[in-house]
């Protein structure tokens, strides 16, 4: 972090602001204590006893993703690239979320697996399971560390708290409520966090629009700025992808970001899928990602637009965009700078609370998915089998503590990286892109063999790493996000090719073991959800809700394209 920017970024937080922040922390910890009462088994602790209503899991589903990287990174992309950033939402999330709900959830929820790696174990056996469980657990702890570090450096810049102190305080709060109340506490807090984040960003957006002279004022200022009118339309986003050719750029977005990266992330990332697995019925599980998709489609309005406005009203960001980086400000500071310039004491406290809430949402999601995979997929499967359930509940609690401690150390390791967004994207493309290929083949192609499961994953991951190395060393010249889109695409194709090739020369998995896991071997009634009781009503139909959000997204794409 640049030392120069320190004094400039300091927020003028008063006692009132700290009081509002303190109220929030009291409520967060209170939820942890209250949720503790409902924890008596390991399934209660690690999967909320599969009892939550769909609106809760749905909001938690997107809140778990609304962490540090998301908020600051997307506002930064908005300031730097403008409107094309919406692709991360409309192309890069909505279709995959609907697909997860309608197509994949019947197998995840229907097979009663407790985690995404467990699905792989039952479908492909030990090889693929170990590859996925270990890489997922490692990635979650790593990302939790990145989130913690981002939180701490923000607290340091804004409020002047020392970085080590902020890391430990934030980790202690997340640890307190996740160890007490397990996934329920994490999920309830994620829902609360969602509303606090909106309560922080919506007034900020309105104040910023007021300041810039309404929508027309924004259009005029951006058109006159260094980015030009190109930054006001989502396509073809050549600046964002780094592909000069507009056709290639759109292909890169639709295939790389929209198909491979986003489907890999949303449909196989257990930190997300876990929220749906904790729903109380098949119908609620299917609706979880789809209910989350509605706010996901609309939330760019209060993340990206403030970023765009920051680039025309905040002097330091204006200067940075014109090519003058002497103030030491980076694009990731766009959102905090706008908060500094626009919000009076009072709302300032809510905004700080919202930022902190978002960081903790990210860390809690990482930690609460890590402990489940560690307990069920690593400890129970490979280290200590067949113990009584209390034993695994205790392991779950200890894994939460251990994971958080490792994350604190990773936070200090992460300090070396400047652009958090690129770093995380690279990680995602290593682990997630080949996963989707393996899942989709495994769910719909019963012939696919166990060896193909792990071979495809390993080959795909190596493919992504290769592209990353080529791009880092300058062999491939792709500025912007183009390299991670390409890496994800390569991982996907390599995974498919290797999986098919290996399947041809190895034995298939016996069919009787694949019931409930593969489309053609699962009876239709096992894939259907009930439509009675609390799942009744046309407005609770997953297909209808999913169609609705796709239409909404298409309309948004046309308006802002």
């Amino acid at each position: 972090m640049p030392v120069l920017a320190e004094a400039d970024l300091r927020l003028d937080a008063g006692p009132l602001d700290y009081a509002l922040l303190a109220v929030y922390f009291v409520v967060v910890l209170g939820i942890g204590f209250l949720a503790r009462r409902s924890v008596s088994t390991s399934l209660d602790f690690l999967l909320s006893g599969r009892s939550l209503p769909a609106w809760v899991t749905g909001l938690a589903f997107i809140s778990a993703n609304l962490g540090a990287i998301e908020l600051l990174g997307m506002a930064a992309n908005g300031a730097q690239y403008g409107m094309p950033t919406v692709h991360y939402y409309w192309i890069g999330a909505i279709p995959a979320m609907v697909f997860l709900g309608l197509v994949m959830m019947p197998f995840y929820y229907g097979s009663k697996v407790r985690s995404v790696p467990e699905f792989l174990r039952r479908r492909f056996g030990t090889g693929a399971h170990l590859v996925n469980a270990v890489s997922f657990a490692a990635a979650q702890v790593l990302i939790a560390g990145v989130n913690l570090y981002a939180l701490a450096s923000l607290l340091n810049l804004l409020l002047g708290w020392p970085i080590p102190l902020s890391v430990v305080i934030a980790a202690a709060i997340v640890l307190a409520y996740t160890t007490l109340g397990g996934l329920s506490a994490a999920i309830y807090n994620e829902v609360l966090q969602f509303f606090v984040i909106v309560a922080a960003l919506l007034p900020l957006t309105l104040a910023a629009l007021h300041k810039v002279g309404g929508w027309q004022g924004l259009v005029d200022k951006v058109t006159a700025g260094p980015g030009g009118a190109e930054q006001l339309s989502a396509y073809p986003a050549t600046e964002l992808t780094g592909f000069q050719n507009p056709v290639l750029s759109v292909i890169g977005i639709v295939f790389g970001l929209g198909f491979v990266l986003s489907f890999g992330y949303w449909t196989t990332n257990f930190a997300e899928v876990q929220r749906a697995l904790s729903a109380k019925s098949m119908s609620a599980a299917k609706r979880t990602p789809i209910i989350g998709a509605y706010p996901k489609a609309l939330i760019p309005a209060i993340i990206i637009i403030p970023g765009i406005i920051a680039a025309v009203v905040v002097p330091e960001v204006q200067a940075l965009k014109a090519g003058d980086a002497s103030s030491g400000v980076v694009y990731n500071n766009a959102l905090p700078l706008l908060i500094r310039d626009l919000l009076p004491n009072g709302m300032l406290g809510i905004a700080i609370t919202g930022l902190l809430a978002s960081f903790m949402a990210g860390v809690a999601a990482n930690v609460s998915s890590f402990n489940t995979v560690f307990t069920y997929d690593l400890w129970q499967d490979y280290v200590r089998k067949d113990r009584p359930d209390e034993y695994y509940l205790r392991v779950g609690r200890l894994a939460t503590i251990g994971g958080t401690i490792v994350a604190i150390f990773t936070a200090f390791l992460a300090a070396g990286y400047g652009n958090i967004m690129d770093y995380i994207q690279a990680l995602f493309s290593f682990f997630n892109a080949p996963l989707f290929a393996t899942f989709i083949l495994g769910m719909f192609w019963k012939r696919m063999s166990a060896a193909a499961g792990w071979a495809g994953l390993v080959a795909g991951t190596l493919g992504a790493v290769l592209v990353f190395v080529l791009a880092e060393t300058g062999v491939l010249d792709l500025p912007g996000q183009g390299a991670s889109f390409l890496g994800a695409g390569v991982a996907f194709v390599v995974d498919i090719v290797v999986s098919v090739a290996v399947t041809m020369v190895t034995r298939p998995v016996p069919q009787e073991r694949l019931v409930g896991l593969v489309y053609s071997l699962t009876p239709k009634e096992d894939r259907k959800h009930s439509t009675t009781g609390e799942d009744a009503g046309w407005y609770r139909s997953p297909a209808l809700l999913g169609g609705g959000v796709l239409v909404l997204t298409a309309v948004l794409n046309i308006i802002f394209g």
Binding site: L16, L20, V23, Y24, V27, G30, I31, L34, A35, R37, T41, L43, D44, G49, R50, S51, V56, K112, Y188, V191, L192, F195, V196, A199, L202, P203, L206, A207, A208, H210, K211, D341, L342, L343, P344, N345, G346, M347, I350, D389
Partner: protein, 84 residues
């Protein structure tokens, strides 16, 4: 017999948090806002209107909680045992 869930309804927690935030912001917006604060957003009273919005959100959640209380079915415990 079905019973209502006790104090811990998430909707009520959300309503209470935003009621507190809303009241504080409205009071600050009405009584403790000077020209310098207003000038930050070119004359728009951010605190007042954000506070009003949060009170509205709190009211919606309070009303939802009151109109559709959580009902815990009798067999809830048996059910959770079955799925685990």
């Amino acid at each position: 017999m079905a019973r209502k869930a006790g104090l811990f309804d998430l909707r009520l927690v959300i309503a209470m948090l935003f009621a507190v935030y809303g009241v504080v912001l409205v009071v600050v917006g009405l009584g403790f806002t000077d020209e310098a604060d207003l000038a930050k957003a070119d004359g728009w009273n951010v605190n007042l209107w954000s506070g009003v919005g949060m009170l509205a959100l709190a009211a919606v959640f309070a009303a939802w909680t009151a109109l559709r209380p959580i009902v815990v079915p009798d067999d809830a415990e048996a059910e959770s045992r079955r799925t685990s």
